[in-house]
């Protein structure tokens, strides 16, 4: 993208209170992105075996790792002292609703296709993690830049 710094008014680029708070925040986004990558990888491993006897060891391990990381992230977020919690929970709620619809459509496809029980259980667990991890990323990435008293 072409730079347009010549059009920026003086005073731009100076850190505000939210910028200064960033150093105290835990690495929630990298952990959440790795969690998502593990979920997606598990899904690809399962989908790649479609039509033959699926080996579920690798996707189950990936799913387990994703679940642990999601839990770690929840703890990391819960331990943050100075945070725009009302904004975080507001965005989390709406995003979870939206992603529940998306995950619901995917679950519907799997059920409709008569996915075998073990596979369906694995896919369902993946979708639950997916529909939790993405809203968590969205709500955290909004709340981290909001003033503490924002609602």
């Amino acid at each position: 993208m072409t730079t347009a710094t010549d059009t920026l008014p003086p005073g731009f680029g100076e850190p505000d209170a939210e910028d200064l708070r960033q150093a105290d925040l835990p690495p929630v986004m990298p952990v959440a992105i790795v969690t998502l990558a593990l979920i997606v990888s598990g899904g690809i491993v399962v989908a790649a075996q479609y039509g033959r006897i699926a080996h579920l060891t690798i996707p189950t391990v990936l799913l387990g790792l994703a679940a642990v990381l999601l839990l770690v992230n929840a703890v990391l977020i819960a331990r943050i002292k100075a945070f725009a919690w009302p904004v975080f929970f507001r965005v989390l709620g709406w995003a979870m609703l939206a992603y529940a619809v998306i995950a619901g459509i995917l679950e519907y496809v799997f059920v409709y296709d008569h996915t075998p029980a073990r596979l369906l259980a694995l896919f369902t667990a993946m979708l639950v993690l997916f529909a939790t991890d993405v809203p968590l990323m969205l709500s955290y990435s909004v709340a981290r830049w909001q003033p503490l008293d924002a609602t």
């Binding site: 347009a4 008014p9 997606v40 690809i44 989908a47 995917l106 519907y108 909004v142 924002a150």
Partner: protein, 219 residues
């Protein structure tokens, strides 16, 4: 933009307590702070359109209608790719050369729409694509070009992680920043760069997917 549409202004600094939002930042040197038009983060009036598309997708999947599945997959994928490439390669450089007020006004009108358009297109493309591949037998491990199908899944997987982990959070963060009484223009610029660049990257990755898909369709 009319004066009544101006709700608040963009500043690079936190406001001193009690200072009105229209006061320029210290050292602004005569540059007026860019006005931010009033806007909704989620364009509620467009939600019925999203609902119609998603219901159509569910009907296409549940009826296994070949035309409907192909339509949702091809139309969704084509629009998704075009939008990503247009954003990253055309709109991004243009936005970078726009003045701050123009960029702010454009962002407030454009980003809320993207918040609905992109997830809808992704759901359309992937949902219909998976069912279509299953329906015509391309998903079977015995399919002669199964390796290419897995390759396309990997590309889509990487794109999904980029889109959901970087692009969408940046989109939402920009909108909430613009809703502040005194948004941080420098932060908006940084987040918009993330949005535009990641859209460009996913657009380029989409070309790889299209190459694979057209190859498979011609077999």
């Amino acid at each position: 933009m009319t004066d009544t549409a101006v709700e608040h202004v963009v500043h690079g600094e936190a406001p001193p307590a009690g200072e009105p939002a229209s006061t320029p930042p210290p050292g602004a040197g005569g540059h007026g702070p860019p006005p931010v038009p009033n806007f909704n983060i989620v364009p509620v009036r467009a939600l019925p359109i999203v609902a119609v598309v998603l219901i159509g997708l569910v009907v296409a999947i549940s009826t296994n209608n070949l035309w409907a599945l192909t339509f949702f997959h091809v139309a969704g994928g084509g629009l998704w790719t075009s939008l990503d490439l247009f954003l990253g390669l055309v709109l991004g450089p243009i936005m970078g050369s726009m003045t701050i007020p123009a960029r702010v006004e454009f962002t407030t009108k454009f980003m809320p729409k993207m918040l609905l358009i992109m997830p809808t297109l992704v759901a359309m493309t992937l949902g219909a694509g998976f069912q279509l591949a299953r329906h015509v037998g391309n998903l079977e491990a015995t399919y002669p070009h199964h390796g290419w199908i897995v390759a396309s899944m990997v590309i889509v997987g990487v794109m999904s992680v980029i889109a959901l982990g970087l692009l969408e959070p940046a989109n939402l963060a920009v909108l909430f920043e613009l809703k502040k009484p005194r948004p941080n223009g420098e932060r908006i610029g940084r987040l918009m760069k993330v949005f535009i660049y990641t859209a460009g990257i996913t657009g380029l990755m989409q070309i790889a997917t299209i190459l694979i898909m057209t190859f498979l369709a011609s077999r």
